[in-house]
């Protein structure tokens, strides 16, 4: 069982718990971050471009071979985000179940936001979305986010140290490792203390804030408890092992991205060189910078490569491509995820706003209500004709059951299945329709005619091969349809045999 630390607080009158602590408004912090970020990025970009001829960079880019290296690098990078999603799921598992796609979307939203917001404000966005998706307090979600980032930094540092043992000594890289090591060592020690001695941390905060008044102390203790609650899950081996494992896998995949880009510029795909460049570039962008780390990333990445003996124009061209390889796909993924999230949240907000609008009154069952809007009447629901494909599928399924097929029951089963499929959730319906289109296309290509024009035995063979074959996704594709068609057909046959139904008797 995962331990959880909560501070017992008496409920307010009426059973209402104390409001959850809110995240501090990031306005002042954000403004300072913007200024520092712009200055840092501008300076580092100028340093990166200093003494470079733009023509040399363009020439290096033109001499590169993007295919297949850049797509492979992007694929490795995106796979890393799925692993990050899995890690996020593990970290919040004690608080709320989160699907892999939902967790990956949360992670990617943070990255994408960092690409368009300055000073790593994307981390706040990520925490906010995580809180919304899981129901965790924002403080706790922010802690989980910071925990992930700390684990990332530690993993990156580990990769750097490992690479340095395999590469020729380089004072510049060594200095970066030393600075990062000190900072991350302190943060890691704090993390370990919170995880191993949570009671001590909470008690210390309570003592330290005792003189600041009851309200402030309560807030501070509650805040600390929220942080500790997120961190303490790492005490569980069943959490710690997968979290450490996925953290290393994430950065192995990110290293793969950097390694795969090397051959695109005529450089050997040396994993240690890739690991060193990846580590330095990622530790470098911990420095607050402009959105997307423009300048900062390029400077650190190009210098790390330069330290390995690569000429400056090639190193900068490599840095530009590496930057675009993570910037474009993750921003696009984030935009799609944000669209889904925005639609979901926006719909509830729109409803709430609509409900506040004044409107005329109405009445139902003796109760008054306020009318907000009138929706247009839907068209009259005509029973749809039985789709030929579904009817043909039903006929193939009932073939060989010992009785000739009943045409009326086939019609009803096909119509029933079509209506049932329409009731599926939109995403599932779309996926199912796409799969069925694939099935029908396969039949058409293989037999030169559409499914419903095939003879019944040929249809039956095709259905048996897909719906009952060894390939699980194909079985799952046809599973709902074959179940619905068989249910609809045999219920219809039985109903026709019974000749109708008995009316309900009056209540006794």
């Amino acid at each position: 069982m995962v331990l959880r630390y909560h501070v017992a607080m008496p409920d307010a009158p009426g059973g209402r718990p104390e409001p959850e602590p809110r995240a501090a408004a990031p306005r002042a912090l954000g403004l300072a971050g913007v200024v520092v970020g712009v200055v840092a990025s501008g300076g580092l970009l100028a340093l990166a471009l200093r003494s470079l001829e733009p023509g040399d960079v363009v020439a290096a880019w033109r001499s590169s071979t993007p295919w297949p290296w850049i797509p492979l690098a992007v694929a490795a990078y995106l796979a890393g985000h799925l692993v990050r999603g899995q890690r996020c799921r593990t970290l919040v598992r004690a608080h709320a179940p989160l699907g892999l796609v939902a967790a990956s979307n949360v992670v990617v939203l943070g990255y994408a936001s960092n690409n368009v917001l300055p000073a790593r404000l994307g981390e706040l966005v990520r925490a906010g979305v995580l809180a919304e998706r899981t129901g965790m307090p924002v403080t706790q979600a922010l802690t989980v986010t910071l925990l992930e980032r700390l684990l990332d930094a530690l993993a990156v540092l580990a990769f750097l140290v490992l690479a340095m043992t395999r590469l020729p000594p380089d004072p510049w890289t060594l200095e970066i490792a030393r600075v990062a090591g000190v900072g991350l060592g302190v943060a890691g020690a704090a993390l370990a203390t919170a995880a191993l001695a949570p009671g001590l941390v909470i008690a210390s905060v309570a003592r330290a804030t005792a003189g600041l008044g009851a309200n402030t102390q309560t807030r501070a203790v509650r805040l600390t408890a929220g942080v500790v609650d997120a961190v303490v899950t790492l005490r569980e081996p069943s959490v710690l092992a997968p979290v450490l494992g996925t953290s290393l896998l994430v950065w192995a995949l990110e290293t793969a991205m950097f390694v795969l880009l090397l051959p695109a510029f005529g450089l050997a795909a040396d994993p240690w060189r890739g690991a060193a460049v990846m580590s330095v570039a990622n530790l470098g962008i911990l420095v607050p910078s402009t959105p997307g780390y423009v300048g900062t990333f390029h400077w650190f990445c190009a210098n790390a490569l330069g330290a390995q003996g690569v000429d400056a124009p090639t190193a900068l061209a490599y840095a530009v491509v590496a930057h675009l390889s993570f910037f474009v796909p993750v921003t696009a993924w984030g935009a799609v995820a944000l669209l889904g999230h925005g639609v979901r949240v926006g719909r509830a907000v729109a409803l709430a706003r609509s409900a506040r609008r004044p409107g005329p009154g109405g009445e139902v069952a003796g109760w008054a209500y306020r009318r907000v809007a009138l929706r247009a009447a839907p068209g009259a629901a005509e029973p749809p004709p039985p789709p030929p494909f579904l009817r043909a599928l039903a006929e193939a399924l009932v073939d060989g059951t010992g009785a000739p097929p009943e045409p009326a029951a086939l019609d009803r089963a096909a119509r029933f299945a079509a209506l049932q499929l329409r009731a599926l959730p939109p995403a599932l319906r779309a996926a199912h329709a796409a799969g069925l289109a694939g099935f029908r296309a396969w039949i058409t290509v293989r037999h030169g005619r559409s499914f419903h024009r095939l003879a019944v035995p040929a249809r039956r063979r095709a259905v048996d091969a897909w719906a009952f074959g060894p390939i699980a996704p194909l079985r799952q594709l046809l599973r709902p349809l074959r179940s619905l068609l068989l249910l609809g057909y045999f219920e219809s046959v039985a109903s026709a045999e019974r000749g109708g139904r008995a009316p309900r008797e009056a209540a006794p």
Binding site: P97, W367, L419, R479, P503
Partner: protein
């Protein structure tokens, strides 16, 4: 109620199923103004007892196509009509086991004792005519009893909310004789007689709030002519009883998220079709009535609803080999293995569409219990004389010998081949005094609000280990009585 319409409801109840009907009757009887909003339609008597094709269109949410997503997708069905799922279930009735209640006290701090619930169960049982089957037991039950006896297991006949059951075998399509006691038989008519109003075809979409108080409900009301109106009802107190999926969906949309929708539990169910040498005519009688208690609470075995369409559907996992079996349908009967789910489930608003996105990860324990349950059920049915047992597992084929059945006591079924369903979902907004694990207190009062009470399966702290209707109604009655007292002050 007469004269000018009331401006605001004193208590607005969302949902008219087991929890909502119990709340409406309890509150109305004590003189409170109660307005019940039901998303589904009021079903006319002429639609009771149709076939499954009709029924899925009429009675079921999403036409019975509510998927629970996960590594093993699970089909979930619930009612969406006046009376909710009580109109389409089998009427099986269990009080919450004492052991379960004590566990809930320990694990969730539930401040309700078995003794306190006793009169609440008795009240519901009297209204629903909960009793044992009066007539002769159907052949499918007798055969099951024989198998259980030969295995040396303990079993019991499960009482049902039914009076004068004639074995129409149409529980899932609305009982055509009125014997099965859905809440539209006694509870809702009694609530209406006590002054409650029931508005059908009215879907609650959002709770509107001002600070910690909910001010009313924003709903979509069908006008009866195909048009739908977006309306706002004001209320002093709101009881949410929309069921284990719709309640957390509504709450999360309305901004209530603390422990809401994060702990959905299920009873995953695997069905089998048994073929007997002599006719059992399961299609023509009441469903098997015995429940095996031997492996409770982790595994329950019992009889399932059997119609020709359902038989075909259950055999469809092995259809190339089983397609000829329906010619012998008089020899076939359906049974089930249900397990006390220990996986993690969640209910969240979906990005698109007006339905929640429901997920459940079948745990390894669930898989082990399903596998062992299949082994035991198949053994019992073979011991009862069945010649073949066909499980709803793709590419598995029939089990014909006990030696084949018992392998599942040790081996695990392949997740990717399971065809699972469930009709029991719960605990998406668990109740209790343990703040960090629960969404409501022991009275069902939603944390973070002053005037919202949850009274449905969503508040069961975790699996009751039995059919949850009795637990839902017992706890709803218990908490509705306290709410009535509170509102009267």
């Amino acid at each position: 109620m007469s004269g000018a319409p009331a401006r605001r409801a004193q208590v607005l109840v969302i949902g008219s199923g087991a929890g909502g009907a119990t709340a409406a009757l309890t509150l109305a009887e004590r003189g409170h103004d109660v307005l019940v909003l039901e998303e589904g339609p009021r079903i006319p008597d002429s639609r009771y007892g149709g076939d499954a094709v009709d029924a899925m269109d009429t009675w079921y949410r999403d036409r019975g196509m509510t998927p629970i997503l996960g590594r093993v997708p699970i089909g979930f069905v619930e009612g969406r009509c006046v009376g909710g799922s009580t109109e389409i279930n089998s009427g099986f009735w269990h009080r919450t086991p004492r052991e379960t209640l004590l566990r809930w006290r320990t694990r969730f701090g539930l401040d309700v004792t078995p003794e306190e619930l006793e009169p609440c169960f008795a009240w519901a049982e009297a209204l629903l005519h909960v009793s044992l089957h009066a007539g002769p037991r159907p052949a499918s039950t007798e055969l099951f009893a024989r198998g259980i006896e030969r295995m040396g297991w303990s079993a019991q006949e499960v009482p049902r909310a039914a009076r004068g059951c004639q074995g129409s075998n149409a529980c899932a399509q609305g009982c055509p004789t009125g014997a099965k006691q859905g809440v539209t038989r006694r509870l809702l008519p009694a609530a209406v007689a006590a002054g409650a109003r029931v508005v059908a075809d009215c879907r609650a979409k959002l709770l509107t709030r001002r600070g910690p108080r909910v001010t009313g409900v924003f709903a979509e009301l069908g006008l009866g002519d195909g048009r739908r109106e977006l309306v706002h009802f004001e209320a002093d107190h709101v009881v949410v009883a929309g069921g284990p999926l719709q309640t957390p969906f509504l709450l999360r949309r309305s901004g209530f998220r603390y422990n809401v929708g994060a702990t959905l539990g299920l009873h995953p169910m695997l069905k089998v079709v048994a073929r007997f040498p002599a006719p059992v005519d399961a299609e023509a009688g009441v469903l098997p009535l015995l429940g095996v208690r031997e492996f409770w609470p982790d595994v329950s075995l019992g009889g399932a609803f059997t119609t020709r369409g359902h038989l075909a559907m259950q055999l469809s996992d092995a259809w190339p080999a089983a397609r000829g079996l329906l010619a012998e349908r008089r020899h076939l009967a359906s049974y089930y293995v249900a397990v006390r789910g220990s996986g993690a489930g969640a209910v969240r608003p979906a990005a698109f569409g007006e339905a929640p996105r429901v997920t459940y990860d079948l745990s390894t324990d669930d898989l082990r219990h399903l596998s062992q349950g299949l082994g035991r059920l198949a053994s019992a049915l073979l011991a009862a004389g069945a010649t073949e047992v066909w499980p709803t597992v793709q590419r598995l084929g029939p089990i014909r010998a006990e030696a084949d059945a018992v392998r599942w006591l040790d081996e695990l079924l392949d997740r990717r081949r399971l065809s699972l369903t469930t009709v029991h979902a719960f605990s998406s907004c668990p109740m209790g005094e343990l703040h960090e694990r629960t969404a409501t207190d022991s009275r069902g009062r939603l944390r973070g609000t002053e005037n919202v009470t949850l009274l449905d399966a969503s508040v069961l702290p975790d699996s009751p280990g039995v059919n949850p209707q009795g637990s839902v109604m017992g706890l709803a009655r218990h908490n509705a009585l306290r709410l009535a007292d509170e509102l009267a002050r």
